[in-house]
Amino acid sequence: MAATTFDAFLQEALPGLARYANVLTGDRYAAEDLLQDTLVKAAGAWPRMRQDGNPVAYVKTVMVRTHVSWWRRHRPTRPLTEDIRAQDSGLGTVEDRDQLRRALAAVPPTQRAVLVLTYFDGADDAEIADLLQRRPATIRSLRHRGLQGLRRHLSSTELAGVAASSDHRETS
């Protein structure tokens, strides 16, 4: 059943939104700041969000846009800390994931947002362009540069090989 109040909506959606903020920022503390900034903005639009029928998507849109603009005002954030180190969740070696996270931390925020929207949300270029208020060609360029940045940082021979064979989406 859909939430009827903003508080009820928060109860249901907060864990997912907090996680999304963390994926976007790659930093737990920045994620908490971003989450609050986003919710302060979204709370005022609750009647409209409810009417649209997809408040989670609305809040995510606000969050992505806030993140991109927030970064413009606050960069750089804190230096990389132990927090960034990946836990072993069976998706590869801890070292591989740690390397990937460090590479992701160096990707500029708009490029990272495009990567998240592409590979986490599965959104297509038109959807991302609409959300970030850019042209689809710009989105393709941002993703291309984001992946290139990752490649540069993934310096081990094994990961360089992986990167070279990847990204058919980018070139298609």
Binding site: R19, L35, A86
Partner: protein, 223 residues
Amino acid sequence: MTDNLEQRLTAEFRAGDYDIPVDAVAISGAVRRRRARRSTAAVGASVVGIAVLAVGGVAVVRSLPPGGTASVHPATSGQASQGPGQDLRLAGVPVRSLPAGARPAVDAKAALAVEPTLESLPESGDRAVLSVNPPSGGVTRIVVVVDSQSSGQGLPGVPGDYEWLGRLQGAKGLATDHAESSTAYFTAGTPSGRWWFVAVTGADEAGRLAVLEAIVTNSVPST
């Protein structure tokens, strides 16, 4: 291990360790408090903005000569009195921390005509035009007006978020620095109904702001 970068990214972003514990009640409370603060600030800013526009508009209209543009009117020395080493008194209140070389100008009109001239000066109120000789921190002229009737007019220059504006014991002040006239301006209303205007002219921005701060923080709170 995944076999390409895209798959690795998908797996990375969907990994469980991006979950962060959040307390919905605490977040909800924090959001509510921040929204309340934002609403209060927005209402306050709107009220102040409307008041400044309204009063400023009236002041500008009143200062317009027929068919002309706004101009700065020369001030008179009024009841200013100050001897060497003494505080100046205007409208019965002391003006403190004037630089050592500050003296009431013999000819206020002539002192005001010295370049760079002021971009803003209240038409009424008890006032003093002081020449500073030798210049202190580059400051050459100080103008102080107390209890002007046209107190709401705006100030030229760039408003500064100066820490000392918060040390005026309830007086609501605005300070700007106007590079073109090499002058730092200040205006404030005190809780007791006094209105202050101070303009400090000098070639060195830091110097004129330091003199302005000293005068304002040592004079305005006590009134």
